[in-house]
């Protein structure tokens, strides 16, 4: 380290430190950009800090078209179910029936706000803007069941049909959600749901995807060797040994979940193997 760089280091350190101190000092004379948010604790205080920031209420800080909690105006719902189909995580449940006049009745329109991810895909296809996002965003409470918002009455609601009912306008956005949010704070009768068994996975027959271009020169059939995975093998061997021991000890134990699983896998593998065999037969002669 030369003498020049020695002095330079000291100089630059002091210089940049003074610059930084100047910046932090100048920020003391600027107004903070944040303001208090106390919607739950101290409404008066909240009002004060909002006034300082030149606002009437915190909703004003949220822009138009904000994607908050979903609101459904059931008066203008046509029961088409587009929103239900658009939802990637099946948050919306719609049940429909028909009454004596052969009109569609929306028996149930439920939105599970506990799982909703506010992506906005449901409100886009809606033909009458019945389902829309409000500016409300605070729905947290102590009981997750309360976040299931039922929008149709239990008797059902005759779906809106512009031809038969005449033109209807959608109720003002955000006018209905507030009651629902207040309802959600009520303590339910039972709030520890019992455990439910796992849903049985649906059996889906797997089909191989089509090949892209048939310009394959020589197609060697992919050899089929039945070699099981070492991990599974280890597990199965362990289970076998356990069973042997159990037999030795003559103790009856309920079979493990893992054994069930492997059994299921075996069955599935057989099915898959059969399918492959048939498909290979189909494919190969062409080449």
């Amino acid at each position: 380290m030369g003498f020049k760089s020695y002095i330079k280091n000291i100089k630059e350190t002091l210089d940049s430190t003074f610059e930084g101190m100047g910046i932090t000092l100048s920020n003391l004379a600027k107004r903070p950009v944040t303001f208090d948010y106390h919607s739950y604790g101290d409404p008066k205080r909240m009002q004060k800090s909002l006034e300082k920031a030149g606002l009437k209420n915190y909703i004003e800080t949220i822009s138009e078209g904000y994607r908050g909690i979903l609101e459904v105006d059931i008066d203008t719902c046509t029961g088409c179910g587009l929103c239900e189909r658009a939802c990637p995580i099946d948050v919306i449940t719609i049940e429909k029936g028909k009454n004596e006049d052969k009109r569609i009745v929306v028996e149930r329109f439920a939105i599970d706000n506990a799982r909703c991810m506010f992506c906005g895909l449901c409100s886009i296809p809606c033909p009458t803007n019945s389902i829309m996002h409000t500016k409300e965003f605070e729905a947290s409470n102590y009981y997750i069941e309360n976040l299931l918002f039922e929008w149709a009455d239990s008797d059902g609601y005759i779906a809106y049909n512009a031809k038969k009912d005449g033109e209807r306008e959608r109720a003002e956005l955000g006018s209905k959600i507030k009651d629902k949010l207040i309802e959600a704070t009520i303590i339910p009768d039972e709030f520890y749901p019992k455990k439910v068994k796992a849903p049985k996975p649906e059996k889906v027959k797997l089909k191989a995807p089509p090949t892209v271009f048939g310009n394959r020169k020589t197609r060697k059939p992919v050899e089929e060797e039945v070699v099981e995975e070492p991990v599974k093998k280890v597990v199965e061997e362990a289970i076998k040994e356990e069973k042997k021991e159990n037999i030795k000890k003559e103790v009856n134990k309920p079979s493990d979940i893992s054994t069930d699983n492997t059994d299921g896998d075996k069955k599935k593998e057989k099915e898959v193997a059969e399918e492959k065999a048939t498909e290979n037969k189909d494919n190969n002669p062409k080449e």
Binding site: T17, M21, G22, S26, A29, K30, R31, P32
Partner: protein
């Protein structure tokens, strides 16, 4: 304090020497606890609140403002919360050491109060080795942090503890060397005498005795930051590297003690800097020599100290922290040679200017101008930055 003890002994009619000693001990203890509870704890607490408010303002946010007027009682709320919390200890921790460590740290900081002169008459004990006493007592902090790091049985804590030990051992050398120049100038180890060797006006302070004293001031200030492990030298508890360093495993009141010690340390650094370099409690001539002028001198002392504390706080929210090897390089490559050089220069200057008060005065005014230049530089840059960012002036600090 001795007079109080003596009067008590006389009024109670105690004659035996052991009895007298006991009484004076009791008086000492009572006095110490009063000082700790009535001065030290509130000071540390209020500083913690102030630091958070200042930091908030510097970062374009508000800071704590809910408990009490402008959040002033935040420190009490924090303290009460810390006391209510469970005092957890890891299973494999070294229990006695683990429990002892916070007290070491707290004691090391608290004991320095004894020798610090707040005014001409307001000093607990004007020791004739005052500055020496302070240097030695602050080493307790090192011991405490090392113990905390070791006894937590946590590798992150251990690294923090060892870092702290190496850091403080290294930085005691430049600190001591820079204090040495002050001792040279005032010719005494007693804190009161050091203050009395200076005057009220800025050119009478030790910092502006000659330009090399400015270097010594910087070295003392920065290395005492390192000793108090404040940013940019907060390596022992570098929260983004070592989780929380030596106090990772602490909770409840023991953690609060570490915290209090940290902010108490702020006061100690400020008081030391003020006393040694910035003229201490020194008031104009007319305001000296009477017991009744104590509040004035105390206010002068506290004002100077607050400025120093403010700068420390500001530095914390300005600078990033240095690395371990850079920490050592700063100490051994820069501070130690520079301070040795400065001691030499100061002694030569003292020999040259001895008895010639006009040369001394000219030199003092010259070096006052130098450090004033630095102060004005920072202020100028603040204004420049303000203009560059198109900001609106708002001096309402009570948002």
């Amino acid at each position: 304090m001795e007079s109080i003890a003596n009067s008590l002994i006389q009024s109670w009619g105690i004659t035996s020497s052991t009895g007298a000693q006991l009484v004076s001990l009791l008086v000492m203890f009572g006095f110490a606890s009063v000082v700790l509870l009535a001065f030290f704890l509130p000071f540390a607490g209020i500083t913690s609140w102030l630091e958070r408010r200042i930091a908030g303002r510097m970062q374009s946010r508000v800071g704590p403002n809910i408990n009490g007027p402008q959040g002033f009682l935040q420190w009490i709320a924090d303290g009460v919360k810390a006391m209510e919390k469970e005092d957890l200890m890891p299973d494999d921790a070294d229990a006695p050491l683990f429990k002892m460590a916070p007290y070491f740290v707290f004691m090391g900081v608290g004991a320095t109060l004894v020798a610090i002169p707040f005014s001409e008459y307001l000093v607990l004990s004007d020791l004739n080795v005052g500055i020496f006493y302070i240097i030695s007592v602050t080493s307790f902090v090192t011991v405490g942090i090392l113990l905390a790091g070791w006894s937590s049985n946590n590798k992150w804590s251990l690294i923090g503890g060892v870092r702290s030990a190496s850091q403080m051992i290294s930085y005691e050398i430049p600190t001591a060397l820079s204090i040495l120049t002050v001792v040279l100038l005032s010719g005494s180890l007693s804190m009161q005498d050091i203050v009395k060797a200076q005057g009220f006006w800025p050119w009478e302070w030790h910092i502006s005795n000659n330009p090399f004293m400015i270097i010594m001031f910087f070295i003392f200030f920065i290395s005492s930051l390192a000793e108090g492990s404040r940013t940019p030298f907060d390596l022992p508890e570098a929260e983004s590297e070592l989780v929380s360093g030596f106090n990772t495993e602490y909770s409840g009141i023991r953690f609060a003690l570490f915290f209090l010690a940290e902010w108490g340390n702020l006061f100690v650094i400020g008081a030391m800097t003020t006393t040694l370099f910035l003229g201490g409690w020194q008031a104009p001539l007319a305001l000296k020599g009477s017991m009744w002028l104590t509040p004035v001198q105390f206010m002068i002392f506290m004002t100077k100290m607050s400025v120093v504390v403010f700068i420390i706080i500001q530095l914390r929210w300005t600078l990033p922290r240095v690395r371990v090897d850079q920490l050592m390089i700063i100490c051994w490559h820069y501070f130690v040679p520079l301070s040795l050089l400065s001691i030499l220069a100061v002694t030569i200057w003292m020999a040259v200017s001895h008895g010639n008060s006009t040369i001394e005065l000219v030199m003092s005014i010259f070096s006052t101008a130098i450090w004033l230049y630095f102060v004005l530089l920072v202020l100028y840059r603040a204004v420049r930055n303000f203009k560059r960012t198109d900001a609106k002036l708002n001096l309402n600090f009570l948002e």
